[in-house]
Every structure is written in C-alpha cells, then in structure tokens.
Subunit: 225 residues, 2 copies
Amino acid sequence: MSNHETKKQEILDAFQFRHATKEFDPGKKIPDEDFRFILETGRLSPSSVGYEPWKFVVVQNEKLREKLREVSWGAQGQLPTASHFVVILARTIKDTKYDSAYVENQMLNVKKIPEEIFEQMKIRYKSFQEHDLHLLESERAIFDWASKQTYLALANMMTAAAQIGIDSCPIEGFNFDKVQNILKEEGLLEDGHLAISAMVAFGYRANEPRPKTRKPLEDVVQWIN
Amino acid sequence: MSNHETKKQEILDAFQFRHATKEFDPGKKIPDEDFRFILETGRLSPSSVGYEPWKFVVVQNEKLREKLREVSWGAQGQLPTASHFVVILARTIKDTKYDSAYVENQMLNVKKIPEEIFEQMKIRYKSFQEHDLHLLESERAIFDWASKQTYLALANMMTAAAQIGIDSCPIEGFNFDKVQNILKEEGLLEDGHLAISAMVAFGYRANEPRPKTRKPLEDVVQWIN
C-alpha cells in the first residue's frame, strides 16, 4: 500500500477502535503529554466565525466527580474510572451575541482584525444571528449554537485520542439543571457566561466493546449530480 | 522521534493545515476513493444514543449549487469552486423523539437491540429528552440537539480530509428558511423529517491562508485537581 492508502486505513482503523467506553481501567493513566495533545486538538478546532465559544474543565478532583456522578446517569462507570474527565462548557448569549465584549475581544485581540473591518463584520453578524439562523429568538437557541461548536472540538478530541490508542466516551446523560447548579457552586461558570454543553471521559478500556453498528453508506449519503 | 510522537505531530500538523478555505482551485478534483473515505469518517462518527440523525447530500449539480449560492452569503467562493459540496441535514422531531418509528427502526434493526431492552431504554430516553436536557421544550430544541450530533460528523470529515491533504470549509452563512425552501422543492427533506444543519465544501485551496489564530491553551482549559 502507498503511504496515502496506509494513512487512510490507519484513520479508519481509529474510527473502528473508538467506541463509547462505559468503564475504564482505573489503574491506567494517560501520560501528561498525550492528554495535552488531546486538548490541543480541541483548542485548534474550528468554530463559527472564529468565536471559540468553549472552555474545557478537566475534573480530576474525586469529590467533584462524585457530585457530578449523582446527577449524571450516563457517566456512572466513567466518572470513577476515567484517567481524565472533561466537562465541556459553551459560552452563553452574554458572550456570543454579535455586540458582546467577548466577541469584540475575540475579533480585535485574538484574531487581530482591524477595527474598521470588525465594525463591518458586526453588521453582517447581526444579520446572521438575527435573520439567517434566528439565533436570537431565545437564549437557548444561541446557547445551542455555541454548543454545536463545542461538538466540533469534542469530535476532534475523541478521534485524535483514538488515533493514539486512547479510549473515550462522550456523555450527554446528565440532568442539565443539576449539573449547572454544581458547576455554579464551584464557581466555574464565569457568572453565567458559561453553561454545560457536554462531558467526555478519557482513559483505557476495561472491557472489549460490542461490534460497531452503523447504517450503510448508501442510507446516509445522497448524490445530486 | 518515536512512532507515537510522529503520529501526534502529523495530526497536529493536519490541524494547522486545515483552515476555512474560501476559494478552491476549480481544476482540481478529489479522487472518488478519497472522497468516499471522507464520507466514511462521517458515517462512522458517534451520535447521542446512537441515533445517527444525519444525512449527507453531495451537491454536484451546478444549477442547484447556483440556487444555494443565492441564499448563502458564506459560500460565495466555495459553491462555484469546490470539488465536492455537502449539505448536512439533521433529523427533526418526527424522527428523533424517543417514541418515533425512526428510533424504533434504528434501535431494533440497525443496532440490533432486543425488543425488551429497547422498551426499557425508551423509558430512560423519554426522561432524558423531557427532563434531563429539556429537548421537548420546542421543535427547535430537539432539532438543535440532532444538529449538534451532525457537528461531530462535520469535524471528523474535515479533520480526516486535512490528514490526507484535502481542504475544506464549514459553512453556516446561509438563510435557513430560504435554504429549507430550496431543499424542500428539490424533494430532499423526506417530508419534513430532515432540515438543514450545516454545509461543508471540500477541494484544494486556491490561495494560502492567513496564519491561524487561537486563544492560548491556558485560556480555554481549567484543571480541578
């Protein structure tokens, strides 16, 4: 096989390797530099109009893990056993509305966009948020929009992990309100600028998974030629 | 460097290579087997409770591309030049509500879950959708939930493409209602069971991008030890 074909096969093998790991081997820890690599793929992920509307909270504290476990039915086996457990937060309307202080800082200081261009972009983004995607129809709609961006980072972190032999499990099985309360009490939500989007556990599998099931390609792809 | 370190560096290089390509070289086409590989990474992506609530419509027809271009300010340079242009659809409440015919088929026939276990899962998923994530609070909320899952596939397709030297651009810059109308007229929405989630163009860059900007890791990661 050519290098190109080998690379494709290795990537597809990683997709087969990855599965929603319910329980990790509690004795195996991810080396620091490998976990940093995983976080880097999250950080370097794309996001709509470059807002980077996310924060990755790495919960290694056992007491906090136990508190989260009480309100997260989908993380019962993962929270006590994962080498690293990440709570992914997304930014709320306070930071993602086109005219927020967060957006201004992101555009001028992170993306280094000249001020006069940013002023033009703001008009476009206003119309984008208000009319094109109706994101300002509710606080939930614009939060879910930010949350969608965090799913790009989530996918990239899980796939990158799989490519170096590290298991993971994405988790939505939690009570939103109760997790919010816990995170608020811990002072992690930046005064309402952040809210829980998803969770993801990383480590090494304790058991082999069932074979992967997916619909065939022809059921999920349609060509318009 | 060890094989492990080389692999990590190659993946990070792909993240640096990937950028939102505004214009592609119209003369360069992605080989069929490479594009099929990209679609495979979408198909093999994870989704909440295994619903696979997505469809990938590959729009190669010039007339349809032109129609979409008229209502997609964010795809002006991409639609006429992309080697392959994908409209990502997500499933609506008709298919994603815990008691839908789609979910039943997905669980029993795709995932091959025994009927009695599925009946138990349905109770859990009802509570998950109703109480944990409040997904049934509006049709939009449950659609955005399905749409989040498509962003996992979107990220995986773009990163996999980058790893084999193929450029891409994720696109949200379109008028939702107008794109819906076009797709409905073309008979692509399965009678309201699907709606537009995002678009993504693939091909080979026409120009070199500006350097990538991102917040530093310490601004997006917080450790709770």
